[in-house]
């Protein structure tokens, strides 16, 4: 086995030092009836490396990946360009194969990068501070909701129906297991306008929301103030390069999915949960936080994981969360991405996404397909004259992932479709979409 380097001579010497005659002797404490004979598992035989490569390539090529179709599907995971520098950095073994930086003196590189990550996430979201990452956008939102219940000791969270349905399902699961009530707030015409629950620990909205519409966060803030509830916003970090960010509206906690910033779609995983908030909430935050400090015996600055007494390894059942391993490598990808694009690049891809969406809305309008009329960033809902699932099937035959049919998620006629244009879509691709749709609907 190539990954196990022992020679027969090594094994003999090692056994002699240990003082046993065979490796099996070392398993003497495993009750005999529980031991397996080598090779007795009913699993496939080993593949050598060329066969392994060929087998995986074969499986990979069975999928319709985005090199084979044009993607107008978004809904939380986005087809954005990943600069080559991102892959180069996160492939470096010093980062890729490190563990959590428990030994700061041997992990300054990663710790500094995470400090830079925290700075840029906080900046994008317009918040004071951010943590070192959560699992994904959905669990980050659930953690924020649970955190809000410990801020004001209320056991009810309110979430807008215009928040990603999968995120809401994860919220339901987390809250069920902690006896927290979840109330879903109806939306109208793709926007959340009512906030009537008075005993809410928090109100959760998405910005831009699941339908692509830009919610009125000032109104959300006012409702939270009135009811004494925390304001939680789920937000696409790329949109925040262009829109006034949630933190500037006074959001208490802002969470989101970092995948659009340099992480491959990868069927949705691994992604990375972003988590930012107001500074006075820092002691309630779940997960790791990196802080700057100095040497004990010197003056050099350095970085360490800090406020550790919130965490499970120290506080056990009283910890702010059970999270331990997070998504450091994806956070590093985000960091490289935000630097590679920088201030102007982030703004430019956000703007280009808006341009593409506006062009597509107007072209669709020309063939009689109307979009919801709210302010939108790069996604919008259109109403089709036919069943959206069927239309998507027909569009796929023409090499286009046309969007997400919403019938599965919301009541009402099954003919609404959520369409997304990132900066990667071209005029030509949009024109092709529109003419294909015209044909499909004819």
């Amino acid at each position: 086995m190539p990954y196990i380097p022992h020679t027969e001579a090594d094994v003999a010497e090692m056994l002699a030092v240990i003082g046993v005659s065979s490796i099996d002797d070392l398993f003497c404490e495993v009750p005999e009836n529980l031991r397996l004979a080598p090779g007795s598992l009913d699993i496939p035989n080993a593949l050598d490396e060329p066969k392994l490569y060929a087998h995986l390539l074969d499986l990979a090529s069975k999928n319709v990946d985005l090199s084979k179709v044009t993607c107008f599907l978004g809904a939380g995971i986005y087809d954005r360009y990943i600069p080559a520098s991102v892959g180069a950095v996160i492939s470096r073994g010093e980062f890729l194969t490190a563990y959590t930086p428990y030994q700061p003196e041997a992990s300054q590189g990663y710790l500094q990068a995470i400090y830079e990550f925290q700075t840029m996430v906080a900046e994008l979201y317009g918040c004071d501070i951010a943590n070192a990452s959560m699992y994904d956008g959905a669990t980050s939102m659930a953690e924020a909701a649970i955190m809000s219940t410990s801020l004001n000791k209320r056991q009810k969270v309110v979430v807008s129906e215009a928040v990603h349905p999968h995120y809401r399902q994860v919220l339901d699961t987390y809250c069920w297991s902690m006896d927290i009530e979840v109330v879903t707030q109806k939306s109208s015409n793709g926007l959340t306008t009512e906030f009537t629950e008075e005993e809410a620990a928090c109100y959760i909205v998405q910005y831009p929301n699941f339908f692509g519409s830009i919610e009125d966060l000032a109104a959300v803030r006012a409702a939270c103030d009135k009811n004494g509830s925390a304001m939680i916003v789920v937000s696409d970090p790329v949109a925040c390069a262009l829109l006034k960010p949630p933190g500037h509206f006074g959001a208490d906690i802002v969470v989101g999915e970092g995948q659009p910033m340099g992480v491959p779609m990868g069927l949705g995983g691994p992604g990375v949960g972003l988590f930012a908030c107001k500074k006075d909430l820092i002691r309630f935050i779940p997960g790791r936080i990196v802080g700057k400090t100095k040497e004990v015996h010197g003056d050099k600055p350095g970085y360490v994981m800090t406020l550790r007494t919130r965490e499970q390894d120290i506080r056990r059942e009283k910890a702010t969360s059970n999270i331990c391993t997070n998504e450091a490598l994806m956070a590093l990808a985000n960091t490289v991405y935000m630097i590679a694009l920088g201030k102007n690049g982030m703004r430019s891809i956000a703007e280009n996404s808006v341009r593409n969406a506006q062009y597509m809305i107007s072209e669709l309008d020309k063939i009689g397909i109307g979009a919801m009329t709210n302010k939108v960033f790069c996604e919008f809902v259109v109403t089709l004259p036919k069943d959206a699932e069927w239309v998507c099937g027909a569009m796929l035959d023409k090499g286009i992932l046309a969007g997400l049919p919403l019938g599965k998620y919301y009541e009402g006629p099954p003919n609404t479709l959520l369409v997304c244009t990132t900066e990667l879509r071209t005029k030509n691709q949009i024109d092709t979409y529109v003419s294909a749709l015209k044909e499909v609907l004819a």
């Binding site: 074969d58 999928n63 990946d65 400090y115 669990t139 056990r316």
Partner: protein
């Protein structure tokens, strides 16, 4: 004396110059629009760095030089299974047919991905001995929590949800165990470990007599965090079952058992796996994790959605699950990590799988034997995949703590072992070499530790002042908490940020 010549790294923000960009950005060919008429108020300030591509690469290459990974050197961090992460796994995970899949594209378009997920599930069912595996959980702790949710749903379905509100956790358990129990609304009761390092059966018996009908589950790590196989495992599972409870296995230590023994045969009802430990998906400096769970048939109705299973010979992603606990993650779990795990499992295959545990246990016992004179084992029994040693005598006699020895190891070019976990062993050293380390490396490491223990006797200050060869010396963690500085803020000359600086510092 510091030997390093690496200059003190600047923050990327300090290197920023207006007008630079680090990426050849895509051009837009659709018509320009008036942003304010479309979006209303847009953002004016955005303080992100402006860096040229080469400078970006240098920044991170230099940072990588002050970071230690498995590919840098030996990484015997106990409980973390820092084995080699094969390069072929990275190649396969980057194939466009896997990397460029959208989680919401129609399932009919991802048969190869479903084959991967189903393939990993089937192999792990065999390796663990459980009836079902789900790959939804995103890390180890997430898997623990998901298992306890299954337990909770199971008891609710039997009308015992209100009654069974206690989870038993041994005092040697990892912190995520009690924290995950709390996340599922359970009260935690600690169970002590006996002098031999096993679960204290007398106490367990008594606890079950007193509150057995309130116990939802026991969370047991096997092999324990003491690196010992629980010889009474079948009996313990039976005791809990007789009291009507469920038994969860913390599978962070599965590396000791792969191909040799199966938790599903021990009597456990469910378990979590850390694919980022046992099955070699890289840990990435703190994540992504990848936390599969295994379960027996009676917990199957409650599986999180979607359930990847076969139906009339076809693999499907089943969302129609009336008794499901729901979704625990945004989409299908850590798919690209599953591609890596699948590649790894197929590289070992039927004929080699057992070698993982055999050689992991051999290496750990070798290190244990070589070090026993200087760092005695906490228990006089063969260890499994990791050995737990104690440095208590150096603390008593020389004021040298396990942490000091660890910091000195850094000077010798090694990553330290785990210290102060499990909490019940004084001045604990938890060493997990893994099966992928050769004998020479183990010898060098043991020689270094022996030399360090000698230094502890003759010149303890060498240890107290370690490390002295890295970019920084020992860092002040108390100061970090006292003067919280968790983000960079531009200088005071920047007016917009004066407020923020005041607010945060």
């Amino acid at each position: 004396m510091r030997q390093t010549t690496v200059p003190e790294p600047k923050l990327i923000f300090e290197k920023s110059r207006a007008g630079r960009v680090g990426c050849n950005l895509p051009k837009c060919d659709t018509p320009a629009v008036d942003l304010s008429s479309i979006l209303g108020e847009t953002r004016v300030d955005l303080h992100l760095p402006e860096i040229a591509e080469l400078d970006l690469l240098r920044h991170f290459t230099n940072l990588s030089h002050i970071n230690y990974g498995i590919e840098t050197g030996f990484y015997p961090l106990g409980s973390c299974t820092m084995k080699y992460n094969p390069k072929i796994n990275e190649t396969t995970a980057r194939m466009t047919g896997f990397a460029n899949l959208h989680p919401l594209q129609p399932v009919e378009t991802i048969p190869g991905a479903l084959e991967i997920l189903h393939g990993v599930q089937s192999i792990l069912c065999q390796v663990t001995g459980f009836d079902y595996i789900t790959l939804q959980p995103l890390a180890g702790a997430h898997g623990e929590m998901t298992c306890l949710m299954l337990v909770r749903a199971y008891f609710e379905s039997r009308g015992e949800g209100q009654k069974r509100k206690i989870v038993l956790v041994p005092d040697s358990a990892h912190g995520t165990n009690p924290a995950s129990a709390a996340r599922c609304g359970y009260d935690v009761k600690s169970i002590p470990t006996d002098a031999e390092g096993n679960t204290n059966l007398a106490v367990l018996t008594q606890v079950l007599e007193e509150i057995g009908d309130q116990v939802a589950a026991l969370m047991l790590t096997n092999p324990s965090t003491l690196g010992l196989f629980e010889p009474n495992i079948e009996k313990i599972c039976k005791m809990i079952h007789d009291a009507g409870g469920q038994v969860f296995c913390d599978g962070a230590n599965m590396n000791a058992m792969v191909g040799t023994t199966r938790p599903g045969d021990h009597g456990f009802d469910c378990m979590h796996l850390n694919l980022h430990k046992t099955f070699s998906t890289p840990h990435g400096g703190g994540g992504p994790g990848c936390g599969a769970i295994g379960l027996q048939k009676h917990l199957e109705p409650f599986l999180p959605k979607p359930v990847i299973r076969t139906e009339s010979g076809k693999i499907i992603a089943d969302e129609d699950r009336p008794h499901s606990i729901g979704r625990v993650a945004g989409f299908y779990g850590q798919f690209l990590m599953e591609v890596r795990a699948y590649t790894y499992l197929m590289a070992y295959g039927k004929e080699n799988m057992h070698r993982i545990s055999k050689f992991a246990v051999l290496n750990a016992n070798y290190v244990r034997a070589r070090l026993k004179e200087v760092l005695p084992p906490a228990h006089d029994r063969p260890c499994m995949h990791e050995c737990i040693l104690t440095a208590e005598k150096y603390k008593k006699e020389k004021g040298v703590r396990a942490l000091d020895i660890s910091k000195r190891l850094i000077d010798y070019g090694f990553h330290p072992a785990t210290n102060y976990f499990p909490l019940i062993v004084p001045e604990c050293f938890m060493i997990e070499p893994t099966e992928t380390e050769n004998k020479e490396t183990l010898d060098e490491f043991c020689d270094a530790l022996i030399a360090i223990c000698h230094e502890a006797e003759t010149d303890p200050s060498l240890l107290h002042n370690a490390p002295s060869t890295k970019i920084v010396g020992r860092l002040d963690e108390t100061l970090a908490v006292k003067q919280l500085d968790v983000r960079w803020i531009p200088g005071a000359e920047n007016k917009e940020y004066t407020r923020l600086r005041q607010a945060i510092s």
